[in-house]
């Protein structure tokens, strides 16, 4: 029956009723009729370039491309006549006359398939050197479906050199079939407009326009192009030659607070690659460079800790895991509560965090548990938490008409949010961005307010005042921003990481909150830690118990004690992580995925539990091998408060185990009760007694309780020093956002170093010329309060006069920013 919305068609002599407006290809697919395609892709607009999908339509003068032609009522379509097949073969031969096709019509192709499952063996066994796409090649599938055994045209090899210099993926355009999928995904889906067809006709090459490099043209290295490429032209460096995945398991990315959904590709019990999941809440089929390309390198790096070890006379000795647990239990047993501390990473799962604090509170009878977030957010932490309490789902971006972005750069980290912002812009939303540097939003924003690094707070409070209609003189751009925000129906504020390390970050956050309250907008802070929320709600801070309630209130302690059936120590401590810089040395310190940034031993006995060995400082006494997030079952809470699952996609290497399992074993060894969990679900059931949301995982957000507040010491000066004269630069120091369990991502995923220069002095090119330094030079950066040397990296994103350093390892720098002198170090 045809109705208003459907049409009747015949395909290959079968009648079908299909939705109006569908293409012939979609109609055929819905009815399980195969039409070969190369340039069509389900997420992209039809292109009609490859001509593989030609079909015969009765009454049409020529064959029509199924992928572009909409169905019409009464259409009679034939997809497999001899003539069409012949035509397709001919067209395929034309494609192959230019594509290195030896692989496709290779006599060894049967053998090749046979040996394919053994990684890299195929090439070795059959002598093939052609294509890294092995069994994943869509071209190969169509070629064998068309039963092409030979081609009539001589092969014309373009002889283009393979582009290998950019990080993460290689480009061999000799294998390109001009299907344009990569160009379309870059333009239509990512809205990044980096890739284009350059030149024309047979000289066409895919790439950024005007011969610029990918890095120069704003490529976000999101890998969307690599995912859609049907050939081996675009190939992921770290997953080349790996062949087809054996399994795919969905999990949550743990590399930042956005919490994207990932599909982990598994081969030989290893997470070999990660691709995005079309998730309706968070990432909508997108990933950033970290989620797409860094996860596999991060979890598979050869330096992973696979065995427990202890240090004896300065030597590291591998020991059986049981022995290590016994040693830990022994040390902890003899440690008085006030001489113990645990530092745990906000990258750990809720289950890990919950067990860790339960361990500290019930086994160690202490409240000494803290996370590096305290150092990362400094004395603006509470004000940042106030923003988090107003957080809303990221998908709000889709409804907003004016979006105020503060210190937010989404080129590499969080580029999935960047895509959503660009979609919003395409829809007509207006972006106001406040950022001292050139950044990913600069090009697309309606208004880019660019205060100097020393004037951030001034700008934001002036904007806030203008919104409150305090008539102060302000710049015309700020006035324009105020007008836009005032007129907005659905304003939204996004807070990035740029202003967090500033000494006056607390005031910046307060002013932001004031703006939000004035214009009635939600705020999406985008924390760097994937489970900051969880660390607060699980109670991984001295001040907070599970559920985020204060530990210094007897009622709260009683409530928790009742649930656990154990008494919890009074809260008498003023210990927190800041004390490692000033406080007394402790007896036993247990580091779970953390390495405090000091070189002296922080305790008489240090237990270090992580996925990589410590990079700096005095060696720990005991090392326990932990599992990475791709190897555990559990949950994380993303920046917007969504409780999301992580799943074990591959076994942890060697003796490595999830943190909670190691902790439970130690607790049991110490004779403690209440640590007999069989699996993560049992822990979740216990968490559910504190936090309702854990009863049922529907990914709905949990809200951070309004009262949550930590006891911060105003130890950072909030006064910015004045700049003085020409000879000074203003230095801002950032703590790297790109870390997982205290491990810099750039250390394990090589390519990341090319994108973000950490531990280097970033300086504008003209400034560098002024002081006579070039890229790579060593300089001494000094002020009354600071002196250190760094290699120079030029970055024209910076304003003249301001320099910055992204430090991998936290070091106090007060006030931040402040004026420094820079001088070339003579070699």
């Amino acid at each position: 029956m045809t109705s208003n919305n459907t049409v009747s068609i015949r395909i290959d002599n079968h009648p079908f009723t299909v939705e109006k407006g569908l293409t012939i290809l979609k109609a055929a697919e819905q009815n399980n009729i195969y039409i070969p395609t190369l340039c069509a892709h389900k997420e992209l607009t039809p292109y009609g370039g490859c001509r593989m999908c030609l079909v015969e339509v009765e009454g049409a003068r020529r064959f029509l491309t199924a992928c572009t032609t909409p169905v019409e009522d009464g259409m009679v379509i034939r997809t497999h006549t001899d003539q069409i097949q012949k035509e397709r073969r001919e067209i395929m031969e034309l494609i192959l006359s230019e594509h290195t096709s030896s692989c496709l019509i290779c006599e060894e192709s049967e053998l090749c398939r046979q040996y394919m499952p053994t990684i890299r063996k195929a090439g070795v066994t059959t002598g093939c050197r052609y294509c890294p796409n092995d069994d994943k090649c869509e071209l190969e599938k169509v070629v064998s479906w068309l039963e092409i055994k030979d081609i009539n045209h001589p092969v014309y090899y373009r002889g283009l050199s393979v582009e290998k210099y950019d990080p993460f993926y290689d480009r061999d355009y000799n294998l390109c079939i001009y299907c344009g999928r990569c160009v379309r995904v870059c333009q239509e889906v990512r809205l990044a407009n980096v890739l284009a067809f350059t030149q024309r006709g047979r000289s066409t090459v895919i790439g950024p326009a005007f011969g610029r490099s990918h890095l120069e043209s704003g490529c976000e290295f999101c890998g969307a192009c690599v995912s859609v490429c049907p050939t081996g032209a675009l190939a992921e460096k770290s997953n080349k030659w790996n062949g087809v995945a054996e399994a795919e398991i969905q999990t949550t990315c743990a590399l930042c607070g956005v919490g994207c959904q990932l599909q982990v590709l598994i081969r030989n019990d290893k997470a070999v690659a990660t691709i995005p999941v079309d998730d309706e809440f968070v990432n909508h089929g997108q990933l950033c460079v970290k989620g797409r390309f860094c996860v596999n390198e991060l979890v598979n790096h050869h330096q992973r800790i696979t065995k427990a070890s202890k240090y004896q006379d300065g030597n590291r000795l591998q020991i059986p895991i049981e022995d290590a647990i016994a040693i830990a239990a022994e040390q902890l047993k003899n440690c008085p509560p006030e001489d113990f501390a645990m530092v745990i990473s906000p990258n750990c799962s809720n289950e890990d965090l919950f067990i860790a604090q339960k361990f500290v509170r019930t086994v160690m009878n202490s409240h000494h548990i803290d996370s590096s977030a305290r150092l990362f957010y400094g004395n603006g932490f509470n004000d940042y938490l106030d923003l988090m309490k107003r957080t809303t789902a990221l998908s709000e971006i889709g409804q907003s008409d004016v979006i105020l972005c503060l210190g937010l750069d989404m080129r590499f980290g969080r580029s999935v949010v960047g895509v959503q912002i660009r979609k919003a812009i395409a829809r007509g939303a207006k972006i106001i961005t406040i950022h001292p540097n050139d950044h990913s939003l600069a090009l697309n924003a309606e208004l880019w307010i660019r205060p100097h690094t020393t004037e951030i707070l001034d700008s934001i409070s002036q904007l806030s005042n203008a919104l409150l209609e305090k008539h102060e003189p302000i710049t015309s751009r700020l006035a324009q921003a105020a007008d836009l925000l005032n007129a907005a129906k659905n304003p939204l504020i996004l807070m990035g990481g740029e202003f967090l390390p500033y000494s006056n970050s607390a005031e910046i956050m307060q002013q932001t909150l004031r703006i939000a309250e004035t214009i009635g907008s939600a705020i999406v802070p985008l924390p760097a830690q994937n489970n900051l929320h969880g660390s607060l709600l699980m109670g991984a801070y001295p001040e907070l118990l599970p559920g985020g309630i204060f530990s210094d209130e007897p009622d709260n302690r009683k409530k928790i004690s009742d649930i656990w059936g154990m008494t919890i120590q009074d809260f008498t401590t003023d210990w927190n992580l800041n004390k490692i810089f000033t406080g007394k040395k402790l007896k036993v310190v247990y580091l779970v995925g953390e390495l405090p940034p000091i070189d002296e031993p922080i305790g008489d006995f240090v237990i270090y539990q992580n996925i990589y060995p410590p990079e700096h400082g005095a060696p720990p006494n005991l090392i326990l091998p932990a599992a990475a997030f791709t190897e555990i079952d559990g949950t994380f809470i993303n920046g917007a408060g969504r409780v999301q699952r992580v799943q074990r996609t591959a076994p942890p290497p060697g003796d490595a185990q999830p943190d909670w399992q190691l902790l439970c074993q130690i607790a049991r060894k110490m004779g403690a009760t209440g640590f007999d969990y069989k699996n993560h679900q049992q822990i979740q059931q216990e968490i559910a007694r504190f936090i309702e949301r854990f009863k049922k995982f529907d990914r709905k957000p949990v809200v951070l309780p309004k009262h949550i507040k930590l006891q911060l010491e105003p130890e950072r000066s909030s006064q910015l020093s004045e700049t003085d004269g020409q000879s000074f630069f203003v230095l801002t120091i950032f703590n790297s956002e790109h870390q997982y369990r205290g491990i810099p991502i750039a250390d394990k995923a090589e390519g990341f170093k090319k994108l973000i220069a950490e531990d280097s002095l970033l300086i504008n090119g003209s400034d560098a010329r002024k002081i006579g330094v070039v890229d790579g030079d060593q300089v001494l950066v000094s002020s009354d309060l600071f002196e250190k040397s760094f290699p120079v990296r030029l970055s024209d994103n910076l304003q003249s006069g301001s320099v910055q350093i992204i430090q991998q390892r936290f070091q106090p720098f007060n006030p931040n920013p402040h004026p420094v002198k820079i001088r070339r170090k003579d070699v």
Partner: protein
């Protein structure tokens, strides 16, 4: 009967491009005198009645094309004048653009009125620097005189014209390629459907016509569609600009009534083949149209039907005369090179196929061809033609098929003797006066 001068209604030595000169020729009188008393539908009707067929190459009746616009759309309608003039051998639009731009502008205002377009574009190929300058001057003059802009002089509607400069690609002569180019995109054509009349420039209904087509509109409205229809033949009404080049004594642009005998045109109007040589071949409508042998040309008249009957097409009206003594294989090599070079590369058959056509013809010309190559050529064209996104692929095949068919001996001779009997050069004959 003498040929009429509808488009070339000026003294070829005067300063015809100015508004002043055009006004002297009763310019803009149709707009100011006829339009106030005509409804848009009436204008459309007259154009339909005139039977004028598109002069860009495909010969589609303009009035019928205009009536394809959706009636119920609330989107703006655009009118585009196609002045890309890229077809090799074609240079007739250039004369209008350079010498008679106001007639084109008036035609566009009338057409815009008929189809309710408020904004028009004139797209001129980048190489036509002088034409661009002249047209822009004329548009500026027209704005100053109130013929363009808000509330046109003598009429109660508005019309704007933007002059757009092309960036040098044959394929943007195609309607959809041209629209992409105006939109600032790469000059690549679009898949159809959607057709431009429904979803064209900026995804709005769009009508696109050739310069000559639009420049004929003032005369049609002034004298009535019937008067125009009475010129020429039943199916090819009106006059046609012809650009004749090659081995002809008086190359140039001529205006003839359609139905004019070809041999008369060649011998009487254009002075015959250069150097009194024998005619060897004629490409009658631009490089994409199949080549004709002299015997095919004897009986033909210059109109759509007659040339179609002879197996070719009037196309854009660009006539290429090839005299005895020139090499057809070399000529084809030049043509295939052109199409290969101009293929946009979007679709497989054209991108790869045109390359192979050129390579094979080149190798025959170089004396390295094989007999199988002739079949290979026709088999490749079979797979290109009608299998591409835009007609450039088809266009590339027209010459190949016809050259091989009509001058097969010459190809065979190249292959058999292993070289070019004409010395492998593209011959330029010069007439000694």
């Amino acid at each position: 009967m003498a040929n009429q001068n509808i488009l070339l209604n000026f003294d070829r030595n005067g300063a015809n491009h100015t508004l002043e000169n055009y006004l002297k020729r009763k310019g803009y009188s149709t707009l100011s005198e006829k339009i106030p008393n005509m409804k848009p539908e009436q204008v459309l009707d007259e154009v339909k009645k005139s039977g004028i067929r598109g002069r860009g190459g495909a010969g589609f009746p303009a009035g019928i094309k205009w009536s394809f616009l959706p009636k119920d759309s609330d989107k703006p309608v655009y009118l585009i004048c196609n002045g890309d003039e890229g077809e090799p051998g074609t240079f007739k639009d250039r004369v209008i653009l350079e010498e008679n731009p106001h007639m084109l502008i008036e035609g566009m205002i009338l057409a815009a009125y008929a189809i309710n377009a408020k904004h028009c574009y004139i797209y001129i190929r980048g190489e036509y620097g002088f034409a661009l300058q002249r047209v822009q001057q004329a548009v500026d003059e027209a704005y100053r005189a109130g013929y363009l802009g808000k509330k046109l002089t003598g009429a109660n509607y508005s019309c704007d014209i933007t002059v757009h400069k092309g960036a040098g690609a044959y394929v943007v002569g195609d309607e959809t390629g041209l629209m992409n180019s105006i939109e600032g995109k790469k000059g690549q054509t679009r898949n159809k459907p959607p057709f431009p009349a429904v979803e064209g420039l900026y995804q709005c209904p769009t009508i696109i016509n050739n310069v000559e087509t639009l420049a004929s509109v003032p005369w049609i409205i002034d004298h009535g569609g019937a008067a125009y229809h009475s010129i020429g033949t039943e199916k090819s009404s009106g006059t046609k600009l012809l650009s004749i080049s090659g081995h002809v004594r008086k190359p140039g642009v001529y205006e003839v009534d359609l139905g004019y005998p070809f041999m008369d045109f060649l011998n009487k109007d254009c002075g015959g083949v250069i150097g009194n040589r024998k005619l060897k071949a004629v490409i009658p409508g631009g490089s994409s149209t199949p080549v004709l042998r002299p015997e095919d040309c004897e009986k033909i008249t210059i109109d759509y039907e007659s040339i179609a009957e002879a197996g070719s097409s009037l196309g854009s009206g660009a006539i290429l005369i090839i005299a005895e003594g020139s090499c057809m294989v070399k000529t084809l090599e030049v043509l295939t090179h052109f199409y290969h070079h101009e293929s946009c590369g979007q679709c497989t058959p054209c991108r790869e196929g045109t390359g192979w056509l050129h390579k094979i013809v080149k190798r025959i010309e170089a004396g390295q061809g094989k007999m199988e190559d002739l079949d290979l050529l026709t088999s490749i064209t079979k797979h290109i033609a009608f299998h591409t996104i835009c007609p450039l692929g088809d266009a590339a095949c027209g010459p190949v098929d016809s050259f091989v068919k009509k001058f097969k001996d010459e190809f065979i001779e190249h292959i058999k003797t292993g070289g070019c009997p004409f010395g492998g050069k593209f011959v330029r004959f010069q007439e000694r006066v």
